[in-house]
């Protein structure tokens, strides 16, 4: 039986965090009383006209720049015609054959296009069934109607649900760093729809795709895509065809329901919006957008690899998590001269691990461990003031109550045993306590030395320097 490969493209809608709507002066809002942020324009009263929000265009240009897109010298708005109560004009002002920007890429995924449009109103179905089907009535709240949206369409470059989730999170981080949106999936300011198709592995041409909607968290996004890949695989393996349709993800059951209803047969009859003039971003607008870009995850990862020589994995990890990345930067700065890879390992390894074990769901940044303290601790390990084992205990204290590592070492007596006469005594005692191990070591079995070292560490509560301990054991045993 043929192995199937999933081919996935995403359609992403991002709410822009402007003060006002795309085409009128109403303020943006979330969770307010229904219909308190409306006016004749966003309610499509007779005779009103749209006027585009300049800030929305600048924000969209920043997104285009962040994704490395080519900005169209002259793009126009179109009317996308369809009747639905959440669509007050019965057309959505969007962009069609000449979008704001095209091309570009984020990580491994190519961007197809980036365009501007306006969001629809919110509809609450109050019939017997909360779902779109079934009788009853719906209430329309136009507060959200006309919210500026940037739509980002990718090429079908993703191959699995987990890839989709990881990449969507990278997209979220990237847009969030631009400060143009709060990109909250749960609040709908970031919406990710998937186009999923399967094809026999190694085949070029694409299979029939379905469109997945309503996956309003990263978890649901991954689940929804997973479920759809599985659904299509079963169909294809049974020799059945996939039907091109739009599927609605139900978070409750995790199931996918086709949206088939008369309201969904569309012929959008796009045509140029006569109420708006063309958009021709000037050199200045494009340059300003470029200059407004902060360091983006991809660039940050590159800097960590190239300049700091971090391993690719750690570099990406730190780059895609803003808070932890900044924490690392601060720790590295504090411990000047410290080896970046060592600091990175402490942040993403020891500290993150210890936090996980402490059971608290927090990253280094939210912990009581100040990056400066961590840097100091790393420094103390380097200068042998505290052993690696001792440092771990200091870290546990720091996590619990914060503070200065030097003081903790002092207080808890965790300082590394500096004078070797004291250590020699402990080592001799340990050799006597472990005669077989000592024998095996003499016969050249290096592994056995572990038991003796263990005993020493136990005795010294890990305050001894492992290297030093081994050296002493060796010359006591004359090997």
């Amino acid at each position: 039986m043929a192995e199937y490969e999933a081919v996935i493209g995403l359609e992403i809608h991002v709410h822009l965090q402007t003060r006002t709507k795309m085409f009128c002066g109403c303020e943006l809002s979330f969770g307010d009383e229904p219909n308190v942020h409306t006016c004749p324009v966003c309610l499509a009263h007779p005779g009103v006209l749209p006027v585009p929000n300049e800030k929305a265009i600048r924000y969209a240009l920043m997104i285009a720049a962040a994704l490395g897109c080519e900005v169209a010298p002259r793009s126009i708005f179109h009317r996308k015609n369809y009747f639905y109560p959440d669509n007050p004009k019965a057309y959505q002002i969007s962009q069609y054959d000449i979008p704001l920007a095209t091309g570009g890429r984020l990580g491994e995924v190519r961007i197809h296009r980036v365009h501007l449009e306006e969001d629809a109103a919110k509809m609450i179905h109050v019939g017997e069934s909360g779902r779109i089907h079934g009788s009853g009535a719906s209430l329309v709240d136009f507060n959200r109607a006309g919210t500026p949206l940037v739509e980002i369409v990718t090429e079908p470059d993703l191959r699995s649900a987990s890839e989709v989730r990881a990449w969507a999170q990278l997209m979220q981080t990237t847009v969030r760093q631009l400060g143009v949106s709060d990109v909250q999936m749960e609040e709908g300011s970031l919406r990710v729809d998937g186009n999923v198709s399967l094809r026999p592995a190694g085949r070029e041409e694409l299979g029939i795709k379905t469109e997945l909607k309503n996956m309003n968290s990263f978890k649901f996004l991954e689940r929804g895509i997973e479920a759809e890949i599985e659904r299509q695989r079963v169909l294809l393996e049974a020799g059945e065809a996939v039907t091109q349709e739009t599927l609605h993800f139900d978070p409750g059951s995790g199931s996918l329901t086709p949206l088939r209803s008369k309201e969904y047969e569309h012929d959008y009859r796009y045509f140029p919006e006569p109420d708006l003039v063309p958009l021709a971003p000037t050199k200045e607008m494009i340059r300003e957008a470029q200059e407004a870009l902060p360091e983006l995850p991809s660039e940050k990862a590159e800097r960590y690899r190239e300049k700091l020589g971090l391993p690719a994995g750690v570099a990406t990890l730190l780059a895609s998590d803003i808070e932890t990345g900044d924490y690392f930067d601060r720790a590295l700065e504090a411990g000047d001269g410290a080896d970046p890879t060592v600091v990175a390992n402490w942040v993403t390894g020891e500290l993150a691990g210890a936090l996980r074990q402490s059971g608290e769901e927090m990253g280094p940044a939210e912990s009581k461990v100040q990056p400066e303290s961590l840097a100091k601790l790393i420094g103390m390990v380097g200068s042998k003031q505290v052993s690696h084992g001792g440092a771990k205990q200091v870290l546990a204290v720091l996590i619990a109550e914060g503070g200065d590592p030097a003081e903790i070492v002092e207080r808890e007596g965790l300082g590394q045993i500096a004078d070797s006469s004291e250590l020699e005594g402990v080592v001799e005692a340990a050799i006597e306590a472990e005669p077989e191990a000592a024998e095996q070591v003499r016969e050249g079995n290096q592994k056995a030395i572990g038991r003796i070292v263990g005993a020493v560490m136990k005795e010294t509560k890990g305050r001894a320097d492992g290297g030093e301990v081994q050296r002493l054991i060796h010359d006591k045993l004359g090997v």
Partner: protein, 483 residues
Amino acid sequence: MPDLLDLTAGQAGKAIESKEISPQEYLHAWQEAASKDDLNAYLWTETTSNEQRATSNEIPASPLRGIPIAVKDLFCTEGTPTTAGSRILESYRPPYTATAVRKLIEAGTPVLGKTNMDEFAMGSSNENSAFGPVLNPWDRERVPGGSSGGSAAAVAGGLAPWAIGTDTGGSIRQPASLCGIVGMKPTYGAVSRYGMIAFASSLDQCGPLTRDVSDAALLLATLQGRDPCDSTSVGIDGGIKLPDREGLKGLRFAVPSGLAMDGVEAGVKSTFAATLKTIEELGGEVGEAALPHADHGISAYYVIAPAEASANLARYDGVRYGLRVPADELLGMYEGTRAAGFGAEVKRRIMLGTYALSSGYYEAYYGQALKVRTKIAEDFAKAFAEFDFVVTPTSPSVAFKLGEKTDDPLAMYLNDYFTVPMPLAGIPAISIPAGLAEPDGGGPQLPVGFQIAGPAFSENAILDAAFALEQAIGFDARPQGVG
């Protein structure tokens, strides 16, 4: 002191400024006249609030101060009926006022009333109003033209000193022609469209319907201007000055050779010929310019306008305001509401426009029509390289009988033959009364209009030429019992 109603708006404005007459007595005289409307020209007449406005002293000295105006019911007026001649908006009261009307009110011009019109400005006879046809004051068996028929009839019939209307394919110029008054469609973008209920957004323009050319200039001077609420508005550089030209020496007038004259009534042809002679007597030159694509204007227009209208009228869905025909599911509510709310002509154009945009037909119809539009604009540009103006009859016929063309939409559409090319090119044009003529097959003497079109933003030049021609023609006929 002549009868107040005989004064042109310009003369009355001067008389009010010089305190010869009071704004109140002038307003009352017109309210009196408007109340005697027997042409169905008004859908609604304003009363009290105007008196305060007209008499209030806050209003700055302005040549328009105290001259009331009839406003086509396509313009939103806050809190007062605005129906666009449609059942679907019968009970609608706009929450805001159109920019054009606001500017007039700020200049001290009270709204006398809202005038009847073809539903959503779709028509050339005013027979498409949901509130009954308007009668032509020259002959009550005949149409006043459309879609601004109520505004034209009100001015011609002595029910208003002046009026504003809208012109998409001729809706100001054609009724002005059929009613024997002056009507002007400004350059697209000269006047704000904000608050003017949209028919075809890339063509619609607001303009004056007046007794003479000077009044048209006076009104346009106040209407024009850039409006931040209308991205497509630019205003007219340097504004509008009152016309004062004597003679037409040095001006070149082109008669388009591309336009077919065979559908034109004999009386209209002879009046047009006589007017060309007058132009030459005034020192103007008359020549021919080829406008090869203007002949396709009707075809392009009847694709583009309905296509835009099909989207502009989609908002009348029974959800947020206006008529709703209840149903227990959404589709039924939509289809029932729109079926009950729109009249036959509006439905026809929505269907035509929806079809022209629907998948598989876009390129053949809409796409092709936009290219014809380009060619028509190029034809005019070529003509204006050689000539100052292009002139035509405004309408192929004088006012026709009520019901004469209602069963033949295409015949009705052909009325716009001479008026659609200008909005397609976005250029300004004026219609002035050129004389009286009998319809083909005999009948009463009825007004014939003469159209002068110029390059974009040439309003001052057009008004000047029209003024000089108006003086020479000396058209002073009035309908029976008016003036």
